[in-house]
């Protein structure tokens, strides 16, 4: 994982959006977030997380069979950031796939990697976001600007034995709400918070229960739920819906804010460093589209 050094506190954000630091923390659980420097790109963030992941896994970049880069905040146009990430990793012939999907991109990338690793070899999945560029592309919106941060997370998906084995996964998309959370660089990020939270509060637990039910695993037996870090209130609501203690849903949203498609893998990286090996674990995310789903691993 990688997060930029610069910490943007609620006090700094409050002054820029005409709110108070206490209001920001109350509605989101966020205390601070990291913002990258102006010259830092989504690909730069992705490469930093990729290198960190590869070092920890003891894997050379040259052995990768594929990389997948999920990002909803990369500049539009082609090529996407995956080609530059591959180049910066020293790869000249390795397929690199962009998943231009905010929030749920890493989850979808992991699901694809689980299917592709048997054919291509080790797949490095990276979620990288520069959300500060999104919210600063126009006047700061007082209801959304304080939610987002920059960062990147990465995970190595392999057909070989690893820390966890992916047992099952479910992915879903419902395009009828595609306008409820959207951004196209021609105007500010648009978010219908009522619709987003209402849908997320239902769809996250339902997809988790779907994958757990198929594998006959009880939510109470899951060691940790590693979710997209959108909002602390939402994470606690998912825990309540699943009937598990709130602390079973890992949270670092207070320190990093919502880093969109990077957040689930940043959470997974931090949890795996802080905690002894435990399983099963559930990954789950929900985001613009709406796209959502869950992965069960042990």
């Amino acid at each position: 994982m990688h997060v930029p050094e610069r910490v943007v506190t609620n006090e700094e954000m409050a002054g820029r959006i005409g709110r108070t630091a206490e209001w920001i923390e109350g509605v989101s659980g966020i205390c601070e977030r990291r913002w990258a420097a102006a010259e830092t790109s989504v690909a730069d963030l992705a490469v930093a997380a990729a290198n960190d992941c590869l070092v920890r896994a003891g894997v050379e970049a040259s052995t990768l069979g594929m990389i997948i880069v999920a990002s909803g905040s990369a500049r539009p146009g082609f090529p996407g950031p995956a080609a530059e990430v591959a180049l910066q990793l020293g790869l000249e012939n390795t397929p690199a796939l962009d998943v231009p999907m905010a929030s749920a991109g890493s989850l979808f990338g992991m699901a694809m990697a689980a299917q592709m690793a048997g054919h291509f070899g080790d797949v490095l999945v990276i979620g990288a976001e520069k959300m500060s560029a999104v919210i600063e592309s126009g006047p700061l919106d007082g209801n959304t600007a304080m939610l987002f941060g920059d960062g990147a997370g990465a995970v190595l998906v392999s057909a070989r034995t690893g820390r966890w084995e992916i047992l099952d996964m479910v992915l879903h998309t419902d395009g009828q709400y595609r306008d409820s959370l959207a951004f196209d660089w021609s105007g500010p990020l648009r978010m219908n918070g009522l619709s987003v939270i209402l849908q997320a509060a239902r769809k996250l637990p339902s997809s988790i229960e779907e994958v757990l039910g198929r594998q006959k695993v009880a939510a109470a037996d899951v060691a940790v739920f590693l979710l997209h870090q959108a909002n602390q209130n939402l994470l606690l609501r998912v825990a309540k819906s699943l009937g598990v203690p709130g602390e079973r849903v890992y949270s670092n949203v207070a320190r990093y804010g919502n880093t969109s498609s990077a957040s689930m893998l940043i959470a997974a990286a931090e949890w795996s460093r802080e905690s002894p090996a435990a399983d099963p674990v559930v990954f789950s995310a929900f985001g613009a589209g709406f796209h959502w789903g869950a992965i069960l691993a042990k």
Partner: protein
Amino acid sequence: MSDANRHARLLGVLKTITAQPLPADDDESLFESGLLDSFALPDLVSALELEFSIKVPDRDLNPRKFDSVSRMETYLEDHGA
């Protein structure tokens, strides 16, 4: 179920969720008045399902359907509650 009974039960659910006095006008937006926010809305929908023994499908999870007492009454009536 009589309209009066449904109305009374709906107000009971709303009072539990909002913990505040409800507006006198059943058409008043509960979102604009600040009685409901994005995190109270999922609780409200779950409470309605429990109280009226209905299942609100995901396709009906549109905040506008739950924006006022009268809109919720219409939804409940349309779904046999």
